[in-house]
């Protein structure tokens, strides 16, 4: 029984489930390292999921779908940046408003464009990559995710850009006095998080469901933020946490059919998220000026 749960198949499924979370959590790392809390990631993922289907549906090319997903996420992030960095509005208020907007907008447009309530027509997913010598196939988005994680770990901790971004999150006043354009750095962090969150949403609709369903992110943007905290605001740590959440989700799918009411199985990721948040406090320290608007 235990053996069958922790089979290779479950691990593979866990890896797949961790991809959308990892993209969003990575986005959270860029945004929060620069000092901007981005709870709009939930809405960003949702518009990404919608954009991916929209682009793929009209062009028949899922790579264009990915581009649309990234640009939709980017646009929501741009609003978040303007509202919370330029106008210095509370970042939670801005993020919450954008989440409401994303829910309304995607449902509104989906009904308008696809003339159907609930979900879009089914689409062809991405072509999977076959690796010679190994049975099974690989999702291109998973490969992109791994590249992004490794690249980001390098960018954030080993490049001048990363150092400056972190400075803006740790002490924007010191960064400013050293001639760093805090506003611009923060914009960059939020906008990158928008594009990445959009990719995370795209995985949900393009790879996982192959259809856009209204409200299909079901809290994954928030779960990704919890994973980012658990991963101590680092790309590799966040991925590790996302894999744990992916594992929980893969086990959840396995548990369905064991006679436990589905509703209780559905609660598992949310309960784990709360436990993780309680468990890591004191050991995970956020950037000092995370969430604090910067004013010269």
């Amino acid at each position: 029984m235990i053996g069958s749960i922790f089979s290779l198949e479950v691990l593979a499924s866990a890896l797949r489930m961790s991809v959308p979370l990892a993209f969003a959590a990575l986005g959270g790392v860029y945004s929060e390292r620069g000092g901007v809390v981005n709870i709009a990631l939930e809405g960003i993922m949702l518009v990404g999921a919608f954009g991916a289907v929209l682009g793929t549906y009209f062009t028949g090319n899922s790579w264009i779908g990915l581009l649309v997903a990234m640009s939709f996420g980017f646009l929501i992030a741009l609003i978040h940046a303007i509202v919370s960095i330029t106008f210095r509005i509370n970042q939670i208020v801005s993020g919450t408003a954008l989440n409401i907007m994303a829910t309304g907008l995607t449902t509104f447009l989906s009904r308008l464009i696809f003339k159907a309530a609930g979900s879009s027509p089914h689409i062809e997913g991405m072509t999977q990559w076959h690796i010679p010598g190994i049975s099974g196939s690989l999702s291109p988005l998973m490969v992109i995710m791994f590249l992004c994680i490794i690249l980001s770990q390098f960018i954030i901790f080993r490049t001048r850009y990363g150092l400056r971004l972190r400075a803006c999150g740790e002490n924007p006043f010191a960064a400013d006095s050293l001639g760093i354009d805090v506003i611009r750095m923060r914009y960059s962090g939020v906008l990158i998080s928008g594009a990445l969150g959009g990719l995370g949403g795209a995985f949900l609709s393009l790879e996982h469901a192959r259809v856009f369903v209204e409200g299909m992110t079901t809290g994954r943007g928030f779960i990704a933020l919890a994973a980012m905290i658990f991963g101590r605001w680092t790309p590799i740590g966040s991925f590790g946490a996302c894999f744990l959440f992916g594992l929980a989700e893969a086990l959840r799918i396995r548990l369905e059919g064991l006679g436990i009411p589905t509703q209780f199985i559905q609660m598992i990721p949310y309960i784990i998220t709360m436990l993780v948040l309680v468990g890591v406090v004191g050991r995970a320290i956020a950037p000092a000026y995370d969430g604090v608007p910067f004013e010269k």
């Binding site: 709870i39 208020v93 919450t96 829910t103 308008l112």
Partner: protein, 359 residues
């Protein structure tokens, strides 16, 4: 009226107008006539008594959810979990209504108090997690929304499902008559205001007004209210003032959750007389817009709730009579939140500049 009060009324008004202008651009973009769409939106709600009845009926739950968010705001906390508190409180009240059969004088308060307690519990959990462990309430309240929806979905589909009926949406059986909050049309008709019996406006609306007063009293006239606001402004300073911020955080979240727990009463005890799965459809999130637009002030919350009640009522007509999906209202709502927040900030900066110039 001081200049400050005038500005604080004008700013949200301007934000609402701007949000509608953005909405109009969207409608034009869709190739439709914004004047026509907006006429449909408003003409069905505010041009006759019955329309107003529906508007106030729609506004009632928003008053509760708006108060819940506002109370947490005052304590420096974000209660994004009102949606979950609504489901939990509504189910608790419905549970009393289907299990206990008493005289309304006893049963209605019993159901309300139980609803507040369970809603309060749903606020207490993120409160204690924040006070004891420093876990951020934003993510926890959101997680509890999903848990509450799954839990009530289970309860209404399994142990409490109405037997011998096939319903499109799962629901409990009907409440005992003792738990039913009556409609107001007989009262209005006696007062000479002609309201049709089909209008669902009920006494929950007056209960909501009473809770506006109670919240105002709590915040402005009581010691707890003073301490909540002190912690909201500066938890460290409040500690030097002899306040225990940890206790106040838990208390604020509990009271906020209790107010949220009443957000479903209008539907459960005043309209359908049963708990319907997923009935809320975002009342808790509208509460965030209501609290911001009403500047966390109970009177402001009443007006903001009425505005969103109008939009809600009009959205239905818009869906039926125009080709614009009703979700446009949700988009306008989000734009209102952003514009109000920006407007408040800009005016705040303006006031500071004016005061500096005066000095």
């Amino acid at each position: 009226m001081t200049r400050r009060t005038i500005i604080s009324i004008l700013a949200p008004l301007l934000a609402v107008i701007l949000a509608f202008l953005v909405g109009a651009v969207v409608i034009v973009f869709l190739g439709q006539n914004p004047f026509y769409v907006y006429r449909v939106l408003f003409s069905n709600s505010i041009t006759n008594i019955d329309g107003w009845g529906y508007v106030l009926f729609n506004a009632t739950p928003f008053i509760f959810s708006g108060l819940a968010v506002a109370l947490a705001f005052k304590g420096g906390l974000f209660n994004i979990g009102v949606e979950g508190q609504i489901y939990m409180g509504a189910f608790a009240a419905a549970w009393i209504g289907i299990t206990v059969n008493l005289h309304p004088i006893l049963e209605i308060p019993l159901a309300l108090i139980f609803g507040m307690l369970i809603g309060g519990l749903w606020g207490f959990i993120p409160g204690i997690l924040k006070a004891r462990f420093g876990a951020h309430e934003v993510i926890n309240t959101i997680m509890l929304n999903f848990i509450a929806m799954a839990l009530t979905n289970y309860l209404v589909n399994n142990p409490f499902k109405e037997q011998g009926q096939i319903n499109p949406i799962p629901q409990t059986k009907e409440l005992y008559s003792g738990a039913i909050i009556p409609r107001v049309y007989p009262l209005f008709n006696r007062l000479g205001i002609k309201m049709s019996p089909s209008v669902p406006l009920n006494y929950t609306f007056f209960l909501a007004l009473a809770f506006c007063f109670l919240t105002w009293y709590l915040l402005e006239r009581s010691r707890w209210g003073y301490e909540i606001k002190a912690v909201g402004l500066n938890p460290k300073a409040s500690r030097y003032g002899g306040i225990k911020p940890e206790f106040i955080i838990v208390l604020t979240m509990f009271l906020s959750g209790a107010l949220g727990g009443l957000g479903g009463i209008n539907d459960v005890m005043g309209y359908r007389y049963r708990f319907l799965d997923g009935f809320s459809h975002g009342i808790g999130f509208t509460g965030i817009a209501v609290a911001l637009l009403g500047k966390s002030n109970p009177i402001g919350i009443i007006f903001a709730s009425i505005l969103f009640g109008i939009l809600d009522r009009g959205a239905l007509a818009m869906d039926v009579f125009t080709n614009t999906p009703r979700e446009l209202i949700q988009v306008i709502q989000a734009i209102i939140i952003i514009f109000v927040a920006i407007g408040n900030e800009l005016i705040f900066r303006l006031l500071i500049r004016l005061e500096r110039e005066r000095e």
